[in-house]
């Protein structure tokens, strides 16, 4: 394995872990405030559809009933994704905060709703089995070449690393990476973050201090909605899918949940957990059927590797993952 191959693997890992990271951070906000969110998958899927549909509509010529935009369609799509995801997040919030319903059931319902409605609406709008039309040019998030990437390419080791690995991703990848330190700062260095963590650990104490538990939790759920929307937009506008295809989230929301537990609800660990999952998938993609001489490692094993390692790591290596104490418990002021 030469240096170039390693770079390509990491490059692939960054692309694959971006939606996981965004969804994982979404879950982090929500669960830190005491609201379990199984619905990451559904919000991501709905966001992917909204992004694909909006971007296609924005780029469609006016004569065909579209907006006829020539630039910025991808950002319109991302906005639509965030909007739709926020609506679903609010439903989840309403069910689990205001109505004090079961948070898991509400999340599962959102997953089912997203899986069904995206295909149904997509078929109604575009008549192609729930797929959105293929997107081109500025309808997708295009790769950004960072400054000096070309000029520095000749520098040994650092040049290619900068050019291939760090530069050349799209805007959402950089946003996801920036969201990590931002989340850390917000949660651990601001008053807002302290309160958000407090409602997840001991809502009674927060309430006694005269701060609204309900409001704090709604804000957390809303932030989760925004991040899930971006994750969805990345799937349909930032990858080679170039549009929405039914069920395209393919379980990423659940992997993100696993990564969240693996990361023990810490932003920095979430970054590494998601990168690890992305890296394992990249290896599984690149090295299928490894021939070890005596026997051949089958494709199926390599593809299952990320999941096998998830089980091994979760079961044996991370120690006890302690969720926020008030997680999953609706807050009741008086009994």
């Amino acid at each position: 394995m030469d240096f170039n191959t390693i770079l390509q693997l990491f490059d692939s890992a960054v692309r694959l872990s971006t939606p996981l990271l965004l969804a994982c951070l979404a879950g982090l906000y929500s669960e830190r405030s005491g609201i379990f969110d199984i619905g990451l998958e559904g919000k991501m899927l709905a966001g992917a559809f909204a992004a694909g549909a909006m971007s296609a509509y924005a780029g469609m010529p006016v004569t065909e009933g579209g907006l006829g935009m020539t630039w910025g369609m991808a950002w319109m799509g991302a906005l639509a994704a965030v909007a739709v995801s926020i609506v679903l997040a609010l439903i989840h919030g309403f069910a689990s905060i205001t109505l004090r319903g079961n948070q898991l059931i509400s999340g599962v319902a959102i997953n089912f709703f997203a899986a069904g409605s995206t295909v149904l609406i997509g078929q109604y709008w575009f008549q192609s089995g729930g797929q959105t039309p293929p997107l081109r040019g500025a309808q997708r998030f295009e790769a950004i070449t960072l400054p000096f990437a070309k000029t520095l390419e000749g520098v040994p080791i650092l040049g290619p690393t900068y050019h291939d690995l760090i530069s050349g991703h799209n805007a959402l990848v950089y946003m996801a990476l920036l969201a990590v330190p931002l989340t850390w700062w917000l949660l651990f260095r601001t008053r807002f973050g302290l309160r958000l963590r407090a409602v997840g650990e001991s809502p009674e104490a927060v309430d006694t201090a005269g701060i609204s538990v309900v409001r704090q939790r709604y804000v957390a759920v809303l932030i989760a909605g925004v991040l899930c929307g971006l994750a969805g937009a990345y799937l349909s506008l930032g990858t080679s899918a170039a549009g929405f295809v039914k069920d395209m989230s393919a379980g990423k929301g659940f992997i993100a949940l696993a990564a969240l537990i693996f990361a023990k609800w810490q932003p920095k660990s979430a970054l590494f957990a998601c990168l690890l999952f992305g890296f394992l998938e990249a290896i599984g993609n690149r090295y299928q059927s490894i021939d070890l001489g005596a026997f051949v490692v089958p494709v199926q094993f390599m593809q299952a590797l990320p999941y096998i390692l998830t089980v091994v790591i979760l079961a044996g290596f991370i120690g006890k993952a302690i969720p926020p104490a008030a997680g999953g418990e609706p807050y009741v002021k008086e009994r």
Binding site: S128, S240, V245, E281
Partner: protein, 332 residues
């Protein structure tokens, strides 16, 4: 009680009447990829639509949502007197084997799988032959001498595509390096364009410049990745040349639409025959697509080579090894 008996009686009468009526409504069941996968299922949909346009007879359809629905869907259509019941997909095999025995008077058609029952027609495509032809084209179009194959799952049906592709590529360039990947191990493998694109990028990074994809809706991601990277791709099942004009070298076309159309027509004309129905290069059941979108990519030399190879395969001078016959591939 009497009322119930009357109703049951009437229902029985109605069933008999429907069965006796020559123009029973045909039915088609689409596999998990979905009706508009721009590939396999869409092709069978087009065949059914063609039948409807020509005869004016409506047909019934069902799109599977999960594996558990297979047997239920076939039985439901048979119970309601639909004839024939056509299903496109190898995964229907076991379910059909059970249901076909329960409804001996209904004609069933299964595509891509063999079900040995007296009322079942098994349509088999020699995908290996079509893949041989596109493999030949891929190796001729490749500048790096490395070509790639991405299959949906690691199953014999898809391995047949890969094996034929390798044989074709080697016939044009004996030293060709051929990378092979598969997308997944579950039904989701037919609908994961994100992963398809990622696999394609990995193959491009390893030097491939033409990739043949046989993975249903996943192919969309592969075709897009090839267009983004300025490389070539080869579509499958339906003619997919239009999806990325100038970047799709050609498409390995499986005339699933013909198979569905023929099945509907045969029953309609009372000419249905059970047993094997082989669709290969000689009867146009498989082939490659040439249209205005890829005309510039195909040189005269390539056309001549394909014509020669086709003639040799049809005459039997060149025998393409079918992976499905013994589950092995003579070449890697």
């Amino acid at each position: 009680m009497k009322l119930i008996k009357t109703i049951i009686g009437a229902a029985a009468m109605a069933t008999v009447a429907t069965a006796a009526f020559a123009q029973a409504t045909p039915a088609i069941i689409f596999d998990l990829g979905g009706k508009f996968d721009k590939s396999f299922n869409e092709s069978s949909y087009e065949g059914a639509e063609k039948f409807k346009d020509e005869t004016g007879i409506e047909y019934r359809e069902f799109e599977l949502q999960s594996d558990a629905q297979r047997e239920q869907a076939i039985r439901r259509f048979a119970q309601q007197g639909n004839n024939p019941v056509v299903m496109a997909g190898f995964s229907f095999g076991t379910a059909l084997d059970v249901v076909a025995q329960e409804f001996p008077d209904t004609s069933f058609v299964i595509i891509d799988m063999v079900v040995d029952q007296p009322n079942v027609r098994s349509v088999l495509f020699r995908a290996d032959q079509g893949s041989y032809i596109v493999g030949l084209l891929a190796a001729m179009a490749s500048e790096t001498g490395t070509v790639g194959f991405i299959g949906g799952m690691d199953i014999p049906l898809i391995s047949a595509f890969g094996c034929g592709f390798v044989q074709g590529a080697r016939s044009a360039n004996a030293d060709a390096v051929i990378l092979q990947n598969s997308v997944g191990t579950t039904g989701a493998a037919w609908n994961d364009p994100v992963k398809g694109g990622e696999l394609a990028m990995a193959q491009f990074e390893q030097g491939a410049d033409v990739i043949f994809v046989a993975a249903g809706g996943t192919g969309r991601g592969v075709l897009q990745a090839a267009a983004d990277a300025g490389k070539l791709s080869i579509g499958v099942d339906s003619n997919q040349n239009y999806m990325q004009p100038g970047s799709v070298l050609t498409s390995m076309v499986k005339r699933v639409d013909e198979a569905v159309y023929n099945a509907f027509m045969d029953v309609n004309n009372g000419e249905f025959t059970a047993g094997f129905n082989i669709m290969d290069l000689s009867n146009g059941g498989v082939g490659w697509a040439l249209d205005e979108y890829n005309d510039a990519l195909i040189s005269d030399e390539m056309k001549a080579a394909v014509a020669a190879a086709t003639a040799k395969i049809v005459s039997g001078e060149v025998v393409v090894h079918d992976f499905m016959s013994d589950n092995t591939c003579p070449v890697e």
